[in-house]
């Protein structure tokens, strides 16, 4: 390994007296050339091997098969899909399903993770022990075993449709999954959504603007109240302009042999979602706990000495500093969740990896499909870490 550039000791060069094989510049160039040649050579060798083997075995390497009919059906999909649709569309369904389970999982895992993480620091002994037990239980069991426990151990052993368990409220659980009450937007629903979105954007702008005014001028601005007011105003206006009925609530009801209405989560999706959420939440809880504990006591004491209120200490001292520590590992937990969603292949939930496997079997094009799948995961990871690096550069302490 090389010493970092800003090492205090300067290189002493003896110039001509130094023989070629001991000149660091020569060594460096030689080393790099050799390693580049070796690595590129190996890569070329691998690629030619693959191309040759593919030709011999009739395994195509091109992507021209993507437009032909997939010939298999997919059990659940965000967009309409039939076996006569193309392979490309099948893979798109996979990507959308991966994103669906990942995004929902990230939201719930974050909420649960923060609750458990903060509960771990609770002054109530019982609460903190239970939070600790939750974390230790999930962190020391493989995710795949947890998924099997949820799916095979619980979801496939639930009662039949007719004997559905009714959760308090209109939520039904049975062998075929979960049936939840869900809003269905009416004709005027778009007005409500638009105005609500406008309200959110305006509230965010007001927040930033008022905060800036306060920071620059020192005047107290009630930015929380104003933003909240704008947000609520958007909702109320939306409600009024959409004729007071922006959406109907659709309640699942047993009709004949199945439930109609509401929203239906298949057992595969539900098991995957619950497994991913609880598993990731345990890791997020550790991240949150670590972030909060990393705040030095002196910070709290200093804030108290300044006469800040309890809530101000939390909002102005603890949270801003803790978030700086929490966010990077939090994002890497999100990425883990996305990557772990590929375990759905064991449950039969059709996300990217399992659809990719089916496409490989159907089309016989292992290499291009595999590269495509890995590329999707890689792009998600790289884009996220790029954004994370930008964020880190912005929030990092400037060392003086």
């Amino acid at each position: 390994m090389d010493p970092p550039k800003f090492s205090a000791v300067q290189e002493v060069r003896i110039g001509k007296e130094s023989p070629l094989w001991r000149d660091e510049r020569i060594i460096s160039i030689a080393l790099q050339t050799v390693s580049a040649v070796v690595i590129i050579g190996v890569l070329v060798w691998v690629v030619t091997n693959i191309v040759n083997a593919a030709e011999q075995r009739g395994l195509g390497l091109g992507f021209n098969f993507m437009d032909s009919a997939a010939g298999f059906s997919i059990s659940e999909s965000v967009i309409p899909f039939s076996p006569s649709d193309s392979f490309a569309r099948a893979l798109l369904v996979g990507v959308l399903n991966t994103l669906r389970v990942s995004l929902v999982g990230i939201v719930f895992a974050t909420i649960l993770g923060f609750i458990v993480g903060i509960a771990q620091l609770s002054t109530n002994w019982l609460v903190s022990r239970i939070a600790l037990a939750f974390v230790e239980l999930h962190r020391n069991i493989p995710l795949l075993v947890l998924l099997f426990l949820w799916y095979r151990g619980i979801f496939t052993r639930l009662p039949s449709v007719r004997a559905s368990i009714q959760w308090p409220g209109p939520v039904f659980i049975n062998q075929r999954g979960l049936y939840l009450t869900w809003p269905i937007f009416t004709d005027t629903g778009w007005i409500f959504i638009t105005l609500a979105l406008v309200g959110i954007v305006a509230a965010a702008l007001a927040w930033i603007l008022l905060r800036r005014i306060r920071e620059v001028s020192g005047r107290t601005t009630n930015f929380v109240g104003v933003s909240l007011g704008i947000f609520v105003l958007g909702l109320v206006l939306g409600w009024v302009f959409s004729g007071g009925r922006p959406f109907d609530t659709s309640i699942p009801e047993l009709q004949g042999f199945n439930f109609q209405g509401g929203i239906h989560l298949t057992p595969e999706f539900a098991a995957l979602l619950i497994g991913l959420t609880t598993y990731t939440a345990a890791f997020i809880a550790e991240v949150v706990r670590g972030g909060i504990q990393a705040i030095q006591r002196g910070q709290l004491e200093a804030a108290a000495a300044l006469g800040l209120r309890e809530s101000h200490i939390l909002n102005l001292v603890v949270i801003p500093q803790a978030m700086r520590i929490i966010i990077p590992p939090l994002i890497s937990q999100y990425l883990n969740l996305v990557k772990n969603s590929s375990l759905a292949v064991f449950l039969g939930f059709p996300e990217l990896f399992s659809i990719g496997k089916t496409v490989i079997n159907q089309a016989g094009r292992a290499i291009p499909v595999f590269i495509l799948i890995m590329a999707v995961y890689l792009i998600i990871s790289l884009v996220t870490s790029l954004l994370l690096n930008i964020y880190n550069r912005r929030v990092q302490f400037v060392e003086r």
């Binding site: 090389d2 090492s7 580049a36």
Partner: protein, 400 residues
């Protein structure tokens, strides 16, 4: 000025039970309500759980074939070879405890605890003979024998490391067998916990040198080397393990000449090693970054070149710092070996699955099997992480 008498500086009386309860459970009205509600729920859950474990659950899929979970279909007549390996490992753990103390002490005691647990395994299976139980206890005693030998001053840490490496090879040969003397046991009938351990230990040991090289490469001043190292690390870390296993086990053999057959276990181990190496590299890089610049300067000042600076000064310090994170990585890898079920290896989880599939009576006993497997993983992972945390706490790592 009065001098403090011993009376004044005596520590305060330890709080009594009532005081403790008041402080930690009933400090104010909402804590008291929380404690009561949570307490009732916990008591109920623990009661229901215990009742289910002892009276509700049917553990026959677990207790009927305990050896299958431990070693797969490894021939019963040859099982002494696994026993010998286990004895060797136990003894070496004891020796390491004597030599290094610290974390090794905690690991040895955990291992002894697990061995005793195995000796007391409640099963009526005729396969699980008294000899096996007695053997487990004697292996636990071997740990303490090793400890008393390891404490001798003539056993240096270098010798111990060498013996460890040698015995890993010996164990591999012992398990697989060799020409004429010991019948060869093909790896496709290895299974259960044995296979899980082979994958996890093999993966971490093989990925260690690769990971160190990658970490050094990533920190290198030479752009070509640092580019290729970073590219490898980021690509591998950006894709899910199941994808890499799929590549090494299913796609890779497609492109080998027809006469070349690579063992299935070796293929999976290749994938796991590549995957683990990228994470190992990042862990080691963390250790390298923690080395103060002065160390480089000092090494330079006494005339060491890059190679000696790295090997004699930087690596020994960096690697010592990363031991806790390598233990963490080992735990993660140990849990990740369950994914090998996806490429047809009969590790612990897939043994459970195949037992469930083999007997139709077991169909409704999925919960029991997966809970058992979860418990096995939990005991191993928790004792590892507990040991490593105890040591970190003792060393003051992470303390402010």
């Amino acid at each position: 000025m009065t001098t403090a008498t011993s009376e004044d500086i005596r520590p305060p009386e330890p709080p009594g039970l009532i005081a403790w309860l008041r402080k930690n459970l009933f400090s104010n009205w909402y804590n008291s309500i929380l404690t009561v509600i949570v307490g009732v729920l916990v008591v109920w859950a623990v009661y229901a759980g215990i009742r289910w474990v002892f009276f509700g659950a049917d553990w026959s899929p677990v207790t009927s074939r305990p050896l299958l979970y431990m070693v797969g279909q490894y021939p019963v007549g040859q099982i002494w070879r696994i026993g010998l390996s286990l004895a060797l490992v136990s003894f070496l753990f004891g020796v390491s405890w004597g030599v290094w103390g610290g974390m090794m002490r905690a690991f040895s005691l955990s291992l002894a605890f697990i061995l005793v647990l195995l000796a007391l395994l409640p099963t009526e299976s005729a396969q699980y003979t008294m000899e096996i139980r007695v053997f487990m206890v004697s292996a636990a005693l071997l740990i303490f024998l090793g400890y008393s030998i390891g404490k001798q001053s003539w056993i240096s840490s270098r010798i111990t490391l060498l013996i460890w490496l040698l015995s890993l090879i010996v164990i591999l040969v012992l398990l697989r067998g060799f020409g004429g003397v010991l019948p060869v046991i093909p790896t496709n009938i290895w299974g259960g916990l044995l296979l899980t351990m082979v994958l996890a230990i093999g993966g971490i040991v093989l990925s260690f040198p690769i990971g160190v090289l990658l970490a050094l490469g990533r920190r290198s001043k030479l752009p070509v080397i640092s580019f290729f190292s970073s590219a490898f690390i980021e690509i591998v870390r950006g894709v899910p393990l199941i994808g890499i296993l799929f590549m090494s086990s299913i796609i890779f053999p497609l492109f080998l000449p027809a006469e070349v057959r690579i063992d299935r276990l070796v293929r999976a181990l290749m994938g796991i090693t590549l995957f683990s190496a990228a994470y190992m590299a990042e862990n080691v890089r963390g250790g390298l970054q923690a080395i103060p610049l002065g160390q480089f300067d000092a090494a330079r000042a006494i005339g060491l070149n890059n190679y000696y600076t790295t090997v004699l000064i930087v690596l020994p310090q960096a690697l010592r710092k990363v031991i806790p994170s390598i233990v963490g990585q080992f735990i993660a890898l140990f849990k990740d070996t369950t994914l090998a079920a996806g490429v047809g290896l009969l590790e612990l989880l897939s043994v459970g699955q195949s037992i469930l599939q083999a007997n139709p009576n077991f169909f409704s006993l999925q919960m029991e099997v997966y809970i058992f497997i979860a418990a096995v993983f939990w005991v191993f992972s928790y004792s590892l992480s507990f040991a490593s945390r105890r040591v970190e706490a003792a060393l003051g790592v992470g303390k402010r």
